[in-house]
């Protein structure tokens, strides 16, 4: 009997667990370790953050689903990986610390034959002094953060209804943030909510971001066909901002968040300040801080993980200038080169480099988006890895055969821009490939046929449909498989 151990039950880990359990014959075992008892459809946290949805609408308890699927679920946080075992447990294993129930705080060794690291990001608020809910700004990255943020938004709306003017600052809280799309979506939803509450005229709304230009989204922007032109996403995004009377500050690295004020450095080298009454600023992401040790107990964390804490996989990590970046740098099988029974998927794998061009201020501060790994590619790579492992366990394949390179994968992204069955809108974007390929598409980096962007009510319907479809799928209800990743 072989055991597949999956660390993390987010979009990637949960998808991997469901597919692996579907494919693996018993008595082979699929086991999941994750510190949260609930599954969260993170994209809908945006709606929790504006008070349109409650945390219960975007989460559900994992244990009953795993019980039904026959997947042992351990509510715990992985701490150390011992890929060679050690004198206490000669098999490869992970040390976990329980986070729920009677065993909270206790540690346990869990052995594995195959390991999938899908631990997602550490929300690295510490990178900027004063950033985050423990400091002076808000977040929507977890459902708990989003619910707190909704309360603060409500208070601000109440003050505006009494006639006060308020300044809203939304964006990224550090020069190396990713996930601009999420902050963008929150920005538009706040703007919509203020209009709906008839207080828009009392609000100054400002976007602040580490993107060199609007519309970069950490993807190096994209070119699309629009109105008889091939247009950059910057034009499309600036138009959306202008229409909503939202000001923007780009190329900004926030150095510090003080009460009611951010201090930031720009790509031009200026040191500036911006005051706010309400600030939702995303943190940069890092790996969750797993450690690794060899049989003798020596620290081999550097072998398995990049300095940012993400796990090294089959990518080309050699340092090269932007001009030499290639789609081939990106991983295909997500297999760890040093231990071939370990894989990392979703945000947990270390990208070879950013997608956007690295830019620095005159003082040398890096100010550019790091590579995003959104839900769809995370799900696709998780499924492929799960199927590869099932084949290897069954002896049908010697190595990882299926691939899921972001350089050969498309992505769809729907960013809500306002709620309501007949009045809501959302920006719908598709792109292919995610990683630009200037050899294949010399002028645009991506296929103009499959790279598109539009805004409308249809996008809002799609966004709602996805919310329900993905929660249905994650609950492993009948025919869940027909919902694609």
């Amino acid at each position: 009997m072989s055991r597949l151990l999956i660390l993390g039950a987010g979009i990637a880990g949960h998808t991997a667990a469901m597919h692996a359990r579907r494919k693996l014959r018993r008595p082979h075992e699929v086991m999941v370790v994750s510190p949260n008892s609930r599954w969260n459809w993170i994209p809908s946290n945006i709606w929790v953050g504006t008070g349109v949805m409650t945390p219960d609408q975007v989460t559900f308890p994992l244990a009953p689903v795993y019980r039904r699927l026959g997947i042992p679920f351990i509510q715990a946080r992985a701490v150390n990986i011992h890929p060679e075992g050690n004198p206490e447990e000669p098999r490869p294993h992970v040390v976990v610390e329980h986070t729920g129930g009677e065993r909270a705080g206790q540690t346990e060794r869990i052995y594995y034959d195959y390991l999938v690291n899908a631990t997602g990001p550490k929300l690295n608020f510490d990178a900027t002094p004063g950033l985050g809910p423990g400091g002076h700004s808000l977040s929507v990255c977890t459902w708990g953060h989003a619910a707190e943020t909704a309360e603060v938004l409500k208070e601000n709306i109440a003050r505006m209804k009494k006639g006060e003017q308020r300044t809203f600052l939304i964006g990224t809280g550090h020069g190396l943030c990713t996930c601009q799309g999420a902050a963008f979506e929150y920005l538009f939803n706040v703007e919509f909510e203020l209009r709906r509450q008839k207080v828009r005229d009392k609000a100054r709304i400002i976007w602040i971001s580490n993107e060199q230009e609007l519309g970069d989204f950490g993807m190096g922007g994209m070119l699309i066909r629009r109105g008889g032109y091939i247009t950059h996403s910057r034009v499309f995004t600036e138009s959306l901002f202008t229409e909503r009377r939202i000001r923007w500050i780009t190329g900004a690295h926030i150095r510090e968040v003080a009460p009611g004020q951010v201090r930031y450095e720009t790509l031009e080298g200026e040191q500036k300040e911006q005051s706010f009454d309400f600030a939702m600023l995303l943190p940069p992401f890092a790996g969750v801080g797993l450690k690794a040790y060899d049989r003798e107990g020596s620290d081999i964390t550097d072998t398995l993980f990049a300095p940012n804490g993400f796990m090294k996989v089959d990518a080309d990590y050699s340092t090269k200038p932007y001009e030499e970046w290639s789609p081939d740098d990106w991983p295909r099988t997500y297999q760890c080169p040093s231990y071939t029974n370990i894989f990392a998927v979703g945000i947990a794998f270390a990208p070879p480099h950013a997608i956007s061009k690295p830019l620095f201020s005159p003082a040398g501060t890096p100010i550019f988006p790091t590579a995003p790994r959104t839900g769809m590619p995370s799900g696709v790579m998780a499924r492929q890895v799960a199927l590869n492992i099932a084949d290897m366990i069954h002896g049908r394949a010697e190595g990882a055969v299926r691939t899921a390179s972001m350089a050969h994968m498309g992505a769809a992204c729907i960013a809500s821009a306002g709620n309501g069955t007949l009045k809501g809108t959302a920006v719908s974007m598709t792109m292919y490939p995610i990683i630009p390929d200037f050899r294949k598409y010399p002028d645009t980096g991506r296929s103009l046929r499959y790279t598109t962007g539009e805004i409308g009510l249809a996008g809002h319907w799609v966004k709602h449909a996805l919310h329900h479809a993905f929660i249905y799928k994650a609950k492993a209800k009948p025919f869940w498989r027909i919902v694609p990743e």
Binding site: A404, S405, G456
Partner: protein, 49 residues
């Protein structure tokens, strides 16, 4: 707060949608059609790897 675009300001340069374009964003028939188009596009995206 600014209600119109002012020359030489940040928001003076980008294109803004006409009334017709804005209307089409929530026009039911057109959006039903776009709903189908977006879904087909997304499914193609998922298959393209």
């Amino acid at each position: 707060m600014e209600t119109t675009r002012k020359p030489y300001e940040q928001t003076y340069y980008p294109p803004v949608p006409t009334k017709f374009t804005r209307h089409m964003r929530t026009n039911l028939l057109w959006q039903l059609f776009r709903f189908l188009v977006i879904n087909v596009k997304m499914l193609r995206m998922v298959r393209k790897h």
